[in-house]
Structure formats: C-alpha cells, structure tokens
Symmetry: C2
Subunit: 198 residues, 2 copies
C-alpha cells in the first residue's frame, strides 16, 4: 500500500451518489448539487447532507426544511449545471418543475424519480461545511419505482460521482445478494453457522 | 409522483457505496460493514460514518480512532459476511490481513484497494445511530490506484448497496464529464455564460 499525502486528497476512492438539495429562497425554489448525502437513521428515517454555505443553504437555514431529490441518469447535464452555477446569480427555478408535499418550504423536483421532504432536526458545524440532519417527512416516487405502495428496487437510476476523476458514472452490474453471499464464508470462519448473528 | 408511507422506508432510492469500518477491540482488529459513510469536509479532509452500537464501535468509543476501508468488487462475500456476523461472537481478525499506519488503534485492511486512518473529532448522537466524524490522518492505496504520488481514478472498484432490493451492484458505465456537461445548458439558462460562477 502506498501512502498518499492527505493534503492532495479530494476524494476517498469510492463513488458517491449525487442528489439535488432543494430549499426555498426568497419565496422561490432553489437547488444545489451534492454528493455528500446519506441516510443516518432508520427509525425514524433521517438523512444528512454536508454543505458549504451556498445560495440554497440560506433557505434551509431560514426555514429548517429541505428536500433531497434523486436525479435519474437522464438528468446528468441539469445536475451538473446546478453544481457549477450559483443560484445567487442564476435563477434556477425554471430549470425543473417543482412540487410541494406536506412541508411549506421544501420544494421537490418533479423530474427526479425519487424525492424526500425533510425537516431539519439538527445541524452540526464541521469546518467550512455544515451537516444538516433531516427527518424524512415523506418520500415520493415515480409510479415505476412503486409496487404495493412501497418503494421498489433496484436503485439503479442514479448518478454516481467518481470524485477522483470527477466524472459521472451509472450504477452497473449486479454483483451479489446482500445479507446472503456472506453466508458462503460461514463454514470457514465460524463453527459451521451454529453460532452467529444473522 | 406517489407518496410512500415513511414507516415503510429502509432506503431512499439511491445506491450507496459500502465500506468496512475498522477499529481495535480488546487489542484485536475488528471491523463492520457500513453503507452510511461519506466525506463531510474537504480542508482538512474528513469523513462521517453513522453506526448503531456494535462490537466494533466499542473500539472506536475507547480509542477515538477508526479506519475506513474501501472493498473492491472481489470482496463482496467478505464484506457481506462482516455485515451479518457480529464480532462479539466471531473473531473476524483472521478474515483479512491488517496493517497499521500512524495511528495506534486504527487497523486497516490490506486487501482493500483504498484505506483511510481517521481520528474522531466529533460524535453526534442521532437516535439509535451515532455519527462518528473523523479527520483523515492518512490515505493508503494499492499502487494501481496511485499515479505521481496521488490517488488516481476512476473510483470504480467498489461495492454499491442498492438498499431497496438489498443487493450489491458494481459502478458501471461512464455517463458524462463532471463540471463540464452542465455547461451545455449555459446558453439556455443564463445570459450565454457571461455571468456565472464556475
């Protein structure tokens, strides 16, 4: 293994899903592109997104509400655009069709196959970035992603950012069943599977 | 868009990169599988991982040190195994070859193409999960991931968890150049690119 000087690091070597974070600024929908977003709690479901100060964060700070919108592969150009153009200069409210759910100030993007409206429950200042931790109030999805009233997978209509080369990739081939393929190692590393947590 | 009852949600519709989180418990390497890990700061580089209490978190809590290890596609079975078997019952220290960097209590996994040793700088209790925010002290990579002393991309040797169907997928096809494809929308949504942030 080679040691990489940490000051040269702008990616940790793994791809990240890209989302659009929505908020309301000056009574208009605003959004920005983020690759630092993930779930942080299952019950109740919560997400965190790490953001540096931007036009859109003004709206989150004011209303304590935001949305997470998962762009499909067809939105690569729009998603990239929202990452390189500041809403302080360009009105991005006409780029997408927005809709609102239960929250007043968390506009969501109709063109995204999955959207989540979130209420901020905690903010954590890191350094230049702030972690916004939001409770998912509701999740919305295209009918193609819904079965029997529930979100239906696989989660493959998404954009991945490969931070090291700064390009977007699609999720690809099926590799293995989760909570399953690991059982092939049970015999070797346990007493034959008689004594393990599932 | 269809509204999905939030209590049925165990995934937000986007795939997540899977990592192995390493720590030292009872003077032995321990690790667990996590899909809720991401960068949260660029300068200095920091990561956050959201974890429920586990055998491995005992070591993080004791030493305030942990490692993030990025498994390649060839480690799907081992990674899944570490997610379904608790270190409190099964000694996982023989599953991988561990090495240490600058930190005493953050063992890293030799078989992973990229590893990061982290010092905890803040913990945030969410609900059942705790967010461990760590400063990256050093990053290590296989020589195949290094060029001119720096991490070299693309970040495609990774496992993605599609949480909705709970299966692993590989990162796939190139879609577009980042900080670039969005410029195709400049003409339409700006004054022709004369007045925007880059």
């Amino acid at each position: 293994m080679e040691k990489i000087p940490v000051h040269t690091i702008h990616s940790f070597g793994f791809p990240l899903p890209v989302v659009l974070v929505g908020a309301e600024v000056n009574e208009k929908p605003a959004c920005l592109t983020a690759a630092w977003a993930m779930p942080v709690e299952s019950s109740p479901p919560m997400l965190a997104v790490a953001l540096a100060p931007h036009h859109t964060t003004l709206g989150i700070d004011k209303h304590n509400e935001f949305s997470i919108n998962v762009p499909g592969k067809n939105l690569a150009a729009e998603t990239d655009f929202c990452g390189i153009v500041s809403g302080s200069r360009i009105d991005k409210s006409s780029l997408f069709t927005y809709f609102r759910g239960e929250l007043e100030h968390a506009p969501m993007i109709q063109e995204c196959p999955v959207t989540i409206e979130c209420r901020v429950i905690k903010t954590v200042k890191v350094n230049r970035h702030t972690l916004y931790i939001g409770e998912a109030v509701n999740v919305y999805a295209d009918s193609g992603r819904v079965k029997n009233g529930r979100l239906h997978g696989p989660d493959l209509d998404a954009l991945l950012l490969s931070g090291t080369d700064r390009n977007y990739y699609a999720p690809g081939d099926f590799l293995a069943k989760g909570w399953s393929i690991g059982k092939t190692l049970m015999e070797k590393h346990t007493d034959g599977g008689q004594n393990h947590d599932r």
